[in-house]
């Protein structure tokens, strides 16, 4: 390129700075945190979620079906190249941990395609990396004081309490949904059965009567 010497040097240094900036950006820690979502999955439907994950991040996908049918769903997790990392059919609850081996968009899908008329409610918790630290400058050189480390361990313990509470709530929601379902079914079937009982009994009597009425005419004809 026909550039003057100074312009060339300036361009080169700017290029170097650009590369350094880019390299710095790659060193920036990737996305972290958890996404906890409960969504409705209609019958014969498939819903996919995507997340961009950086290399080396430890991720956990946990899902549970809360309401609907036999409380099962198909789940599939794929890496950016389309390789299937996890695939399970008709599972009620599962938890899968993996470490991202590539940078890119990971995709996981829930499918209710095997069901013809039951909507399902699915809960999933996708944890990517660690939770973001309380202070932006968490990676400090000074060690934590005793009070601070006590606070950190209490925080971790409370996080697991909240986690257990969530799981308990989901199981209870499942149980409650079954109980309410049972309640309405008992009502409908009882009324239905009582009606069928009445109809069948009355019908039987009249049908029987009709047999004897016909026989009488035939016997008179035979007699004559």
């Amino acid at each position: 390129m026909l550039l003057s010497g100074s312009a060339q040097r300036w361009a080169a240094s700017a290029g170097r700075w650009g590369c350094r900036l880019l390299a710095l950006l790659l060193l920036v820690p990737g996305p972290s945190g958890a996404s906890e979502i409960t969504f409705e999955l209609p019958d014969n439907a498939k819903q996919c979620f995507y997340e961009d994950i950086t290399l080396g991040t430890k991720c956990t996908l946990e899902f549970q079906v809360i309401t609907g049918g036999h409380y099962d769903v198909d789940c599939r997790l794929e890496d950016p190249d389309g390789n299937v990392l996890y695939k399970e059919m008709k599972k009620q609850y599962d938890s899968f941990t993996f470490t991202a081996s590539k940078n890119g968009t990971y995709k996981f899908c829930f499918s209710n395609e095997f069901s013809t008329f039951t909507h399902k409610t699915v809960y999933f918790d996708f944890q990517v990396g660690e939770d973001p630290p309380l202070f932006p400058s968490e990676n400090r050189v000074s060690a934590l004081t005793q009070m601070e480390s006590a606070c950190v361990s209490i925080h971790e313990a409370l996080k697991s309490v909240i986690d257990y509470q969530t799981h308990f709530r989901l199981r209870e929601a499942q149980g409650r949904s079954r109980a309410e379902d049972l309640n309405t079914r008992v009502a409908y079937w009882s009324v239905g059965e009582a009606l069928i009982l009445l109809v069948v009994s009355i019908g039987q009597v009249f049908l029987l009567k009709s047999f004897f009425s016909d026989k009488r005419t035939t016997t008179t004809r035979v007699g004559s």
Partner: protein
Amino acid sequence: MAGVAARRLPEMGLSALLMLALCAAGARALYFHIGETEKRCFIEEIPDETMVIGNYRTQMWDKQKEVFLPSTPGLGMHVEVKDPEGKVVLSRQYGSEGRFTFTSHTPGDHKICLHSNSTRMALFAGGKLRVHLDIQVGEHANNYPEIAAKDKLTELQLRARQLLDQVEQIQKEQDYQRYREERFRLTSESTNQRVLWWSIAQTVILILTGIWQMRHLKSFFEAKKLV
């Protein structure tokens, strides 16, 4: 020639800046694809007096370039939140990037529904929209660095505040648990009652129809002089 180089440098700087902006904008959220008139609903089962903050960002699919545009001005999303009784708590239109907040006043399943209001999509987007969504509930919704700055808390005080918020959330969840258990118990007792009374009723109907059948047939056969 120097002009060519000079034009390329801002371009490089701009792309680096864009990447930085994307990282800073918290591109950490989960995303999914939504059709034009499609409505996506999310359920949050939360106790009383809990704050929920949702952040979303939309990107429109560009059919020609086969890529998602970084931002879509003019595209709006309608957010509707319903409480467990079906009453609408929040129903608002936001831009292509938005943040919605609501606080629950009754414990239970709150339904958050999103759908786009745009009809432009059908024209040149191939009907696909990428939505980045992040919903934070209760204690997770608090922004601690902000609270520290506002109330001028030391590190230890901030940690204590975080622990207090967590414990409060646990307490609320326990109260909600007690309320749910009561509902479950009422449902079970109602089922029990129904099963009991309907079984008795059906047995009574059975016996009565049996008796009626026998009496009716007996009188019928007697009339026909067969018995």
